[in-house]
Symmetry: C2
Subunit: 218 residues, 2 copies
């Protein structure tokens, strides 16, 4: 009985890593659409989100089946509930990619990101995509050390967000209010993607060690 | 056995409504701090968030106890999992109130909201606080009709957010980039509070009827 349970649980984690892979693509495509003003690519991210939602529903269904049919207790129970939370967070990261893509689409045929903040936003996009890629690995390998290391990438994201504020609030900002608002919201979306990535990684730490890192709810 | 289960489940929902009451206070206090530039009140919201976090942990513990000891199936199982999700969303609404309070604190002794957008932001704050108040009632009374009606308040929030963009992107906006960025982020925070309120209400609909409103994951 327990063996069937752990096999099914493993399959849930494989599905979670698969969703994480889709989210990585969505973050990457949304960022590319943003930085190149590619309306078609932005559209693909926006319309493709429904597949992440569907994959989420499937994982939820599997988790409910596990809870119903196997009635796990103690750590097994907490692992299944952790999986349910992870899939919610992954889906939310997909939604945030859609928000990035929508800002991209809104400014076509222009580009939402003025040249002088481009390095900062590009770096945010790179850090976000990289964090999501690492989370997929962390889920598959249950890699606690990698999960803990992810916090450092999150610190880089916080620094980048502060830098973007410094840039858009500088005396010589010449791109007006609209571009500044776009940059501020983009910064918020990337920051949230990073926060969720850390939270998902922390849940893996919990699943493996039974310890709940305090930052899990940050 | 089932009776004990339903009594304990009811007590979880009473606790959820209690947390919702705390969130309502946090939203109201953060908004008041924002609109009056009250640093002390902002500080109280920020430091008080730990109590919402603690209350969340207690509800989670109770829900895990229910799952472990009673091994509910079918709708009972889904209701307990819904409660776990509701408490996460309520805690997140508390975090968003902290974000509002931090913008308030950042601008003291000034006020983050310029006079000409004040009516819009004031209205957002009122709608948000009102929505959270209604959610507490919806949880206690399992009021499906009220939960469905909450969608209309959310539409008002969306309209207010659009209005705030019109105002800060107007030709005659005279408050510079910093104030515009504050307003854009505040709009985002209030919008997310409203989204979570709708989502919590939709989970009540699910708990009562077994139907999952499609907007629950929006």
């Amino acid at each position: 009985m327990r063996d069937v349970f752990h096999e099914q649980l493993e399959s849930v984690f494989v599905d979670l890593a698969g969703i994480c892979g889709r989210v990585e693509l969505a973050v990457g495509d949304a960022s590319r659409a943003l930085l190149t003003g590619d309306a078609e690519l932005a559209e693909r991210v926006i319309s493709g989100d429904v597949e992440i939602d569907r994959a989420r529903e499937e994982v939820e269904e599997s988790a409910f089946q596990l809870l119903s049919l196997q009635a796990p207790v103690a750590r097994d129970l907490r692992t299944v509930v952790a999986a349910l939370r992870m899939v919610s967070e992954l889906e939310r990261m997909g939604d945030l990619s859609v928000h990035v893509a929508k800002i991209a689409r809104l400014r076509v045929p222009g580009i939402a990101v003025p040249e002088e903040v481009r390095p900062t936003i590009e770096q945010m996009a790179t850090v976000a995509e990289d964090m999501v890629r690492r989370v997929a690995e962390i889920i598959i390998r249950r890699d606690v050390a990698a999960a803990i290391a992810l916090g450092r990438a999150d610190e880089e994201m916080d620094q980048l967000r502060r830098r973007s504020f410094t840039e858009l609030l500088a005396e010589d900002w010449g791109h007006g209010v609209e571009a500044a608002v776009d940059i501020a919201l983009l910064g918020r979306y990337y920051e949230r993607i990073a926060d969720h990535a850390v939270s998902v990684a922390n849940r893996v730490v919990f699943v493996v060690t039974g310890d709940n890192p305090t930052s899990v709810t940050a």
